[in-house]
């Protein structure tokens, strides 16, 4: 039986993630390139890995994609599957990076998370559209994943420091 504190934290994380997801859809995108987002909701995913561990983080991230797309009317759409693939893959990769590259702060983890997020989304798009040529987009996506990853990593670092209640970490 999970501690009620854990359940509550998971719920809060999920709510924040959904809000960030919807918020990001509402503001004009600073990147003029299609398919490139800031990925602010990934802050929460990464934070959840640190605070609650990988399994709960996965649940939070999957819930975020499902509920976020339900709320914005794109549930089970093309973007939903891309988002789901990207979110799950990046969460798994980020957990692995935290474990195997312990000297990196959230910034390095988040960059690799953003990179894997984009690659997974491209892969899903290529399969759905039956167009392997879509991978020509990879260099541009990777290049834009770096600043996005750095940004979310910086935010995660700050949040982990400033919100001690959620800082009791399972993972360092």
């Amino acid at each position: 039986m999970m501690k009620s504190r854990t359940i509550t934290l998971a719920g809060i994380f999920t709510a924040i993630a959904i809000i960030l997801h919807l918020l990001e859809a509402g503001i004009p995108n600073p990147f003029p390139i299609p398919g490139v987002k800031l990925g602010l909701a990934n802050i929460v995913g990464l934070w959840a890995i640190y605070t609650l561990g990988l399994p709960l983080a996965l649940v939070i991230v999957i819930l975020r994609v499902c509920l976020g797309t339900l709320l914005s009317g794109s549930f089970l759409s093309f973007g939903f599957f891309m988002g789901l693939a990207g979110a799950v893959t990046s969460t798994l990769i980020m957990a692995a990076v935290i474990k195997f590259l312990p000297h990196s702060s959230a910034i390095g983890v988040s960059v690799l998370g953003a990179v894997s997020h984009n690659i997974a989304q491209l892969a899903v798009a290529a399969v759905f559209l039956n167009q392997p040529g879509i991978f020509y987009y990879l260099p541009i996506l990777l290049f834009s994943a770096i600043p996005a990853g750095i940004l979310t990593g910086i935010f995660t670092n700050i949040l982990r420091k400033r919100v001690p209640a959620m800082a009791k970490t399972k993972v360092n």
């Binding site: 390095g108 960059v111 690799l112 559209l129 260099p139 990777l142 750095i150």
Partner: protein, 121 residues
């Protein structure tokens, strides 16, 4: 930002550049490309682009020198005033065309792959 962070970022940057370079240096090729050459609306000949060849055909305006190499074809020399067909250069993907209007010449590439220009969903 820790040193490992910086290393990760540099690594990703390097990988991006390498992939971009790789795409430039190793473009994907198509097999079984055929060039369909049409004169005045009638089919003149269909040539597979699997060998090296240099030949001349008589367009309506003047002689047209066509050069073929494995996987690509171009108009090497023409006498038409605008030289648009020659300036088109090499074409190598199915669906691409070279057109010379004064000569009433159309060279179109036909292949098994269907190349889409854009996808909207």
């Amino acid at each position: 930002m820790s040193k490992q962070d910086r290393n990760i970022i540099l690594f990703v940057l390097l990988a991006t550049l390498l992939i971009a370079l790789g795409f430039r240096l190793f473009p994907s090729e198509e097999d079984n490309l055929q060039a369909q050459i049409t004169l005045q609306g009638n089919l003149f000949t269909t040539i597979p682009l699997d060998h090296q060849e240099f030949f001349t055909i008589d367009g309506v305006y003047g002689p047209v020198e066509i050069e073929i190499e494995p996987g690509k074809i171009r108009v090497a020399h023409v006498t038409c005033p605008d030289q648009i067909c020659r300036k088109t250069g090499w074409i190598s993907r199915s669906g691409q065309v070279i057109v010379c209007i004064p000569n009433q010449l159309v060279i179109q590439l036909i292949g098994p792959k269907e190349n889409l220009d854009a996808i909207v969903y």
